[in-house]
Symmetry: C2
Subunit: 401 residues, 2 copies
């Protein structure tokens, strides 16, 4: 039994503190977050595959590789510290050291993460003053503020926590994340920080995180195209004394909770797509292979034309079929059926059973479900996206200012 904790966050997990403050990197809103665990935590991360990697990301990757234990994550919004060369890297090393010194811990126990404008030097004086302040403000209920501080164009603040029972003891997984602009998330930074109190080796933690990320965050609109700064990091402080082991009941229970938490984050990010008015779930079933299911889902979830049609409450299933046809998936178009929720639109043999009025009702909602059955094999894939509106353009034509 997995429970969502109302207004949960990274600090719902016992043993973690956090804070979120206004440091002045952004004009008006909170822009600096700190996550802190007095106990050393095992850690795993997944990072962007973009060849242009931001300085803090390079540093954090190195820390995890070298050290394997961390106590803090410093995150700023407003400046990505990407495309800033050696000077940018020196800046992030300085902020890491400064933060470690004030927390009285080792520099290589501190991860750093950034999101914001690319190609501008970090305002270091502002940042260091912010660090002075934030280290004094970390508290056991500061996760909510931290969630607020990492937002950029996000409209929905994203903090979650779940608990579940393993061997009759309760374990907690908490998280904050940011991300929007998921129409084409190729360059929209997605950050997620997860805390848990289970005991788990780094290697296994990484394995479970990668699996969860692949099935959730990487199925928002586009897979494998990421920004300069994307990262998902999980810290495990072991405080619950519940150990997660291979070939054990515990691993399934923990993964299920982690997967559910990540699914909720992914759905919220998709729903919060820049300018979006609707969450769209694309469900592919009946594919001959996993690859076909993934390709089909990705293509439909990423189609501007499908997304504008859903925005306009237009049951334009032809766009879904065309998107499917160019997905690269092996499909037999004449076998395909398309449903909105449980309402059949197209049945095999190109049998159109569209009832415009009923279809309009399925589409004129905050959450739209597109079910596409390839009527072949047993593989399936679920993708999250949002509709595509004029406001996406407005936001992105004006973003840098």
């Amino acid at each position: 039994m997995i429970n969502f904790i109302e207004n949960g966050s990274i600090t719902t997990t016992p043993g973690f503190k956090a804070a979120g403050i206004f440091a002045g990197i952004k004009r008006k809103r909170k822009d600096l977050a700190l996550i802190y665990s007095p106990r050393p935590c095992n850690v795993a991360g997944t990072f962007t595959i973009n060849k242009v990697k931001a300085a803090p990301l390079l540093l954090s990757q190195e820390v995890i590789k070298q050290n394997g234990k961390v106590k803090a994550i410093l995150v700023n919004s407003g400046n990505a510290n990407a495309c800033t060369g050696e000077e940018g890297y020196n800046d992030v090393v300085l902020s890491q050291k400064y933060c470690a010194k004030l927390l009285n811990i080792n520099p290589n126990e501190v991860l750093v993460s950034s999101t914001g404008v690319i190609g501008q030097r970090m305002p270091m004086e502002t940042l260091l003053s912010g660090i002075d302040k934030i280290v004094t403000e970390v508290t056991e209920d500061g996760g909510i503020n931290a969630a607020e501080a990492i937002m950029t164009t996000d409209k929905i603040q994203k903090n979650f926590a779940v608990t579940t029972k393993i061997n009759n003891s309760i374990i907690t997984i908490g998280a904050i994340c940011k991300g929007s602009g998921m129409i084409m998330p190729n360059m929209a930074t997605m950050l997620a920080f997860i805390t848990t109190d289970v005991k788990i080796e780094n290697e296994l933690l990484k394995k479970l995180l990668v699996k969860a990320v692949n099935n959730t965050f990487n199925k928002i609109s586009v897979d494998g195209e990421t920004s300069t700064n994307d990262m998902v990091v999980i810290m495990a402080n072991g405080l619950s004394n519940i150990e997660i082991k291979e070939n054990d009941y515990s691993i399934g229970a923990f993964y299920d909770a982690l997967f559910l938490l990540c699914t909720e984050m992914a759905k919220t990010i998709a729903k919060d797509g820049e300018g979006a008015t609707k969450l769209i779930t694309v469900n592919i079933t009946g594919a001959d292979t996993q690859k076909d299911a993934d390709l089909a889902g990705k293509s439909i979830a990423n189609s501007s034309l499908v997304k504008t049609a859903i925005y306009g409450n237009d049951a334009n299933w032809g766009r879904i079929m065309s998107s499917l046809g160019m997905s690269g998936a092996e499909v037999k178009p004449e076998k395909v059926s398309v449903y909105f929720d449980n309402l059949p639109i197209l049945l095999p043999g190109y049998k159109v059973v569209l009832d415009e009025e009923k279809a309009f009702k399925c589409l004129n909602k905050n959450e739209v479900l597109i079910n596409v059955n390839l009527n072949g094999g047993n593989y399936s894939s679920t993708w999250f996206t949002c509709d595509f509106t004029e406001n996406y353009i407005k936001i992105n034509a004006e973003y840098r200012s």
Copy 2:
């Protein structure tokens, strides 16, 4: 010396007739075109790689494969005759036969092409009445009307012709095309019909057409993702008696003219992107391989974030770099330079030399040029796209109605 003929079209080429009429498939505008050559023409075509192929496309592919000579192309807008199954295929066979009968030619000398809404049966009575009418209206200056009749969401009518001298004789290549929605052309139908009076074997004609298409139409925004109905067809009637042969001066001269004509069509299609206000040319140089150059150009030309920034006259070069980083191309980010026209923005070593005021002037124009030098090898690639505006959303949220 290649000359563009003012207001040229398919009927600028000697020996070709055409017409464009209102048949009633669309509500108000011209919707039926016919291209006709009394002389049998050699023919070559390139067709969509979408697995969902429209009925007329399947038929036309078959005609070219089986027959190799054609005299007519019948094109309608307003209905794609795609996802219509066997009945849709029977419809197109019927219209082909009907048209051939009235022209007093063989059915397999007639190609058929359609563009419009997917998944609706063709209104056959309307279409056949239209064919009755159009066969009586083909004239030697009807190319302009034909160009108008194949438009869908196009705002700019697209007809062109060039002449060039080969062995002291003038040869002509004329064309009409349609296409827009090139933000994500994965589902925006692109049709082009080209006529020429050279003598050329089908095999060579195909080879040159494929090469020209790959370097022009396939470099509008996205390569290789095409709609259910996309086709480019070239007919050569041989009337000039100038023969184009392998390993001969003639082949270069003819290809250059064909390439220039196709470039002009591709640029006009990009410029006419749904809702677009600007033509954007992305020029990649200094790549180590052709593949790297193409991947880099494709990624930047297809980035929603780059395109919204250009719309907002925002010199957001970070988005260009990020798009480059996730392109799959082998790039060394620290070696890259970025220019708008000839204005340097970013120089190697992440040296930002952006002058906001000058950059604004470069961007605040109808035609924007982004030059990205990878400063590696000698490969280059040129891509055409457009800016991304609120009107794209409006058009596509309402298109079906």
